[in-house]
């Protein structure tokens, strides 16, 4: 790897999306009214970080999409709009879910490639991938109220980072660079939010995470001629935190509770990685 390439990777692929996301989340918190900021800050910051990083990618990542995954920045913007709207006051859980359905379908429609040798075929993959995005968003949506502190933003960041790493190892350098943007944006948000991340901020972020990190995982898994569907388990690893969402550890911020959550999450990642590399 040349020094120029390494610099590009670090400055444009890591620093830029992380910084932009961190600054955007701080700005949103400072500028917007508290209730609006709570819904929009996370999603807006994530979308800003991903789009800024995408803009800095070389010419193989154009704004006029030529490949399926080139839709990701647009989907990030779409998810950043839909996610907070779904959390607006007066919107019940059913309406919220109904707002996530079209997002999942559109994302799936755009992200499932139209390759001649796609197997399973597009007619199977579009509904399956839409279902994956929807389920991921819905299941993650309940976690912020039950998992306090930095654990959830940290878990989202680590999951995205593992997705990018596996794509680098198993699929494509270019795709990994694109996937790395979402990880770095989430890292920036996690750093900026610190311990003060509210459940509402994280819930606003969840649809964007499900669409973009889930979408990158899908793009990465479908790239090899023998698809690596197990990669789809990695963005779902934070769901392991549901096991401690009830009982005495619910909402607990003790070291013991944090360690237990961390261990569960890491175990889920290990299971996902084992499924990929088995």
């Amino acid at each position: 790897m040349s020094a120029r390439f390494a610099f590009e990777m670090f400055a444009y692929g890591v620093l830029a999306p992380a910084l932009v996301a961190a600054v955007a989340s701080c700005l949103a918190r400072r500028v917007l009214p508290a209730a609006t900021a709570a819904r929009h800050a996370g999603a807006f910051a994530f979308s800003a970080g991903v789009c800024a990083g995408y803009a800095l990618l070389p010419e193989w990542a154009p704004w006029i999409p030529e490949r399926h995954w080139h839709w990701l920045p647009y989907l990030a913007i779409g998810a950043a709009v839909v996610g907070p709207i779904a959390l607006a006051e007066g919107v019940g859980w059913f309406e919220r879910w109904m707002l996530l359905v079209p997002l999942a379908i559109v994302a799936s429609w755009l992200l499932v490639p139209r390759w001649p040798n796609l197997d399973p075929p597009r007619t199977t993959l579009v509904p399956a991938v839409a279902g994956y995005f929807f389920l991921l968003a819905v299941l993650l949506d309940g976690l912020p109220d039950r998992v306090p502190g930095r654990m959830l933003p940290g878990a989202l960041f680590v999951s995205a980072a593992v997705v990018a790493t596996v794509i680098l190892d198993q699929a494509s350098v270019s795709l990994a660079r694109a996937a790395g943007l979402s990880a770095c944006a989430l890292g920036g948000i996690a750093a900026a939010f610190g311990r003060r991340a509210t459940a509402m901020e994280l819930r606003g972020l969840v649809p964007a995470f499900a669409t973009i990190v889930g979408g990158m995982a899908f793009a990465g898994c479908i790239e090899p001629t023998e698809p690596l569907f197990a990669l789809l388990l990695i963005p779902a690893a934070p769901l392991a935190l549901w096991f401690l969402a009830w009982g005495p550890l619910r909402g607990s911020v003790t070291t013991r509770a944090t360690l237990a959550r961390g261990t569960l999450f890491v175990l889920a990642l290990i299971v996902g990685a084992a499924a990929i590399y088995a």
């Binding site: 790897m1 040349s2 120029r4 390439f5 193989w60 490949r67 490639p113 390759w115 001649p116 040798n117 796609l118 198993q170 699929a171 494509s172 350098v173 270019s174 795709l175 479908i222 790239e223 090899p224 001629t225």
Partner: protein, 217 residues
Amino acid sequence: MIPLRSLLPVLLCLWFAGCSKAPGGAPSGSGTAEAAANENGAGVNGAGAEESRTILLTPENAKIRFVGKHMKEDPDPNPRTGAFRKLSGKAEVDEAAKSLEAVSVEFQTDSLSTGIDKLDTHLKNEDFFDVRQYPTAKFESTRITPVEGKEGEYHVVGNLTLLKGTKEVSFPATISFENGFALEGELKIDRTEYGMDRLQDSVRKEVEITVEIAEKK
């Protein structure tokens, strides 16, 4: 009455016209050196249709290999060599004239193999051969000319379609008919001309391609 003398030029014209074209449109040229060569099936590339033979190209009798090199060191101490395991095509040869008339080959890019699984995966992805989007590549000759004074050596010109680009390429080829038809050729392409433009900092844009055909009789 028209004098016979005045009809003579007309008759001569008719006679020449009748001789210049055979019924099938092929030059007849009887009584010329060219015709003699054609009838013997020697000397003229593409002559003597009855002597032409089509050889079907398969992975058993044809090999397409490529060599990619890293940027780090020059010369690269560890160049990567790969081959395509699935291909089909045909070579049209004139046995009598011992000449190659045309060659075309289509290969499945997802059949590439370097012997290193991980490298195969990376070469198949969108950074390089992008086999999902472009599962086939092909070469079709457009012009094949013998090199003057060098028996068995030809200059092959044709169109190479790889990824989203089709470019005219030319390369020297050596052919022989000793134990069946055999061809060896080598060409260099600039991968970026075909849209394979990623990772130029680490992998050189020049790619060497060798073509070998060895018909077993």
